[in-house]
């Protein structure tokens, strides 16, 4: 119970300290990061025992107060956040320390810690909340913190502003939807809402508005236009956080809503439509990633593509068995993509940092000078391609099964195509990086912690595939889609 509160309060307090006493910012950040990991794991073990947790903030039960709720899904996303958060925080030690040298980055070195800790608190708050309006506040908090973090990079201000405007637009749609829901049911507690929801115009409108707002924040094609510039221009640790966690947060909200309040409303047509957008995102994102001139841009577009996979759940959700398999599949993809993409962005940051540029065509010699980083890139790419034995593979495997079980084999075709295209853009990078080059040593050798943190996150993405039994069991706790049941051979 108390972990739930601590998961939000701890980083908040860390943020205050980091702002008031910049000198102790780094140590505060790292300490908080480790404690967070511990808290998330302990919460996960509590839930693994089989019980979902509820806590009413301020001691007032919903609908009067705000309810916090944690089940397997929550626990897994909290764990993802704390693992990625820890890795990124460690990477940031090296990354922002280096930036101290030149003055215009000086502020970014200071700004990172308080903003990142605040963002972390907001993420945890979002994963934990069961209150539609509180969800709005956390979304805004995440949005503003993310924008501020992007803006730490001097030349990313325009991207940051665009990001802010899009985020606000999304929030407005979402908030209007919340207003309608309250007007209908006199509560914003998701549990109560899902109990009382019945199909009527206002409910549909609320669903449409809130979904649209969240799709905008999740950057589903064609609403992705804002993502690549923001993710590609931000400082490496920030890009990692944005791609791995922030986008996932909006998706998490969608999952919660569609399996909670909106389940009675979910129409097959809407699901198919979203699925088509997802497919388009896979294709478009992959093509763009393949043509992108800069490594970080490749990674950013690959995020656009990978986000597409997550939305293939919606068309499959219709049939019960396939729906549940697909749900586990997309959650798995979300988790492993989070880990892999974080590792990838950190690694890209190391390359950028070492060679002063990240033009894909001039990556020769990276393999010689930054073997660990290149190794991280390779492993992360393997997971993103969905090659065994990675988390990405498990997710894709489940999703493929769901597609075939439900008889909608065309989604399977899209997935496989996406996998091949992912391989294409990944190996385009790796091929260039593999080229040897009798070249001078890189300008700045990245701090070892930067290389190892990237590798560690990439490896975690693979471990998620090898050791998926327990996490999947955890995910089953409180899952409204029921237990994961792949079709058994009839005896």
């Amino acid at each position: 119970m108390s972990q739930m509160a601590a998961l939000v309060l701890m980083p908040l307090f860390g943020a205050f300290i980091a702002f008031v006493l910049p000198r102790y910012a780094r140590i505060t950040g790292i300490t908080v990061a480790f404690i967070q990991l511990g808290l998330a794991l302990s919460l996960a073990t509590t839930i693994y025992a089989g019980e979902t947790l509820r806590l009413s903030a301020a001691g007032w039960d919903p609908p009067l107060g705000i309810g916090l709720y944690a089940d397997g899904l929550t626990a897994l996303f909290l764990c993802l956040t704390s693992v990625v958060g820890l890795g990124t925080s460690l990477h940031a030690i090296g990354y922002f320390k280096f930036d101290r040298n030149d003055s215009n980055h000086n502020t970014s070195a200071h700004g990172w810690w308080p903003l990142w800790l605040a963002l972390w608190a907001a993420l945890n708050a979002l994963f934990l909340t069961e209150d539609a309006f509180n969800l709005y506040v956390t979304l805004e908090l995440i949005g503003l913190a993310a924008v501020a973090l992007v803006a730490l990079e001097a030349h990313a201000v325009a991207a940051a502003t665009r990001y802010l405007l899009v985020g606000l637009l999304g929030s407005m749609f979402y908030l209007l939807g919340v207003g309608l829901l309250y007007a209908l049911h006199g509560t914003v507690d998701m549990k109560a809402l899902s109990a009382g929801m019945q199909p009527e115009p206002a409910a549909w409108m609320a669903m449409a508005l809130m979904t649209a707002g969240l799709l905008l924040k999740t950057a589903l094609f064609p609403l992705h236009f804002w993502l690549p510039p923001a993710h590609a221009n931000a400082p490496a640790p920030v890009s990692a956080i944005l791609s791995a966690l922030v986008v996932k947060a909006a998706f998490y909200a969608l999952l919660r809503l569609w399996l909670g309040p909106f389940e009675p409303l979910a129409a097959d047509l809407a699901g198919q439509l979203i699925g088509i957008l997802g497919a388009a995102a896979i294709i478009w994102g992959s093509v763009q990633a393949f043509m992108a001139p800069r490594l970080k841009l490749v990674v950013a577009y690959s995020t656009v593509a990978q986000i597409g996979y997550l939305f293939l759940w919606f068309p499959l959700a219709g049939s019960s068995i396939a729906g549940s398999i697909a749900w586990y599949g997309v959650v798995w993809l979300a988790l492993s993509h989070g880990l892999a993409k974080a590792g990838l962005f950190l690694a890209a940051g190391n390359i950028l940092h070492a060679s002063g540029h990240d033009r894909v065509t001039d990556l020769a010699g990276v393999g010689q000078h930054l073997p660990i980083t290149l190794f991280a890139v390779g492993i992360a790419c393997a997971s993103i391609m969905g090659l065994p034995p990675s988390g990405g593979f498990v997710g894709k495997w489940l999703l493929l099964n769901a597609a075939f079980v439900s008889g909608q084999w065309w989604w399977a075709v899209v997935m496989l195509l996406g996998g091949i295209m992912a391989a294409a853009y990944s190996f385009r990078v790796l091929l260039h990086a593999f080229r040897n080059k009798e070249s001078q040593l890189p300008q700045h050798r990245p701090h070892p912690v930067m290389e190892w943190s990237a590798l560690a996150l990439a490896v975690c993405a693979v471990l998620l595939g090898i050791l998926s039994a327990q996490p999947l069991a955890l995910l089953e706790v409180g899952a409204s889609v029921g237990e994961l049941a792949l079709t058994e051979a009839p005896k």
């Binding site: 601590a6 309060l9 301020a58 705000i66 503003l144 006199g186």
Partner: protein
């Protein structure tokens, strides 16, 4: 505008059409809403005695849904941090050309505004009012002084200033943390202290909000102290 005008025109028209559709759907949805709505009014009024204040809105903001308010104070702080790390505040003296009237007005107004701030803060406990209104007023005073002359408002980047900037959310968080430590759900005030805790939080928040808004008006981090 490098886009050729017909293209632009078409896009505008399409946009308007789309928006119109959304509007109509929305209107339709609104029309179909039930005349009489279920609300939480009764529940709120039932709980008022235990809330520690007499104003319903304040009770909701700082007790029933205090968690929202805590996060919202953090939102404000984050916005400030964004401005803070983006650059130094850019209010050059030539932005401010105080005339005699303005000078005098400010010299008279600012103290009054600060008084009223206090009053509104106190008012919040039993009528419309509270930290945000008070903070806004305080910010107003601050902005006035900024506009008239920077010297009168010695904004310097110092640890004291930073403490003031986080005071509101920090006090809030500390209260929450303390309550968690005595393992209550976070922010569940003990009945007898509820009123005073709320007042404490509101007071801190008022200061924070006032200064934060003033700084945001100035648009950045003040210059180093000493």
């Amino acid at each position: 505008m490098t886009k050729s005008d017909p293209v632009r025109l078409i896009s505008v028209v399409l946009t308007l059409l789309a928006v119109a559709v959304i509007g109509l759907l929305l209107a339709w949805a609104v029309f179909t809403l039930p005349e009489q709505a279920v609300g939480l009014s009764s529940m709120v009024s039932d709980r008022m005695p235990e809330s520690g204040v007499n104003a319903e809105v304040t009770a909701i903001l700082l007790n029933f849904r205090s968690y929202d308010t805590l996060l919202e104070l953090v939102v404000l702080l984050v916005a400030l941090l964004g401005a803070w790390y983006l650059g130094k505040m850019h209010l050059s003296p030539e932005d401010t050309k105080p005339g005699l009237v303005l000078e005098g007005l400010v010299r008279f107004l600012v103290p009054v505004m600060i008084l009223v701030t206090g009053y509104i803060l106190w008012l919040g406990s039993h009528a419309a009012g509270g930290a945000f209104q008070a903070g806004a007023l305080l910010a107003g005073a601050g902005v006035l002084m900024l506009v008239v002359s920077r010297e009168k408002l010695p904004l310097r980047d110092s640890i004291q200033l930073r403490i003031l900037l986080v005071a509101g959310p920090a006090v809030f968080t500390l209260v929450a943390g303390a309550l968690v430590l005595v393992d209550k759900p976070m922010l569940q005030y003990p009945r007898q202290y509820a009123g005073s805790l709320i007042l404490l939080i509101e007071a801190a928040s008022t200061l924070t909000i006032g200064i934060t808004l003033t700084l945001l008006f100035a648009g950045g981090r003040p210059h180093r102290g000493d």
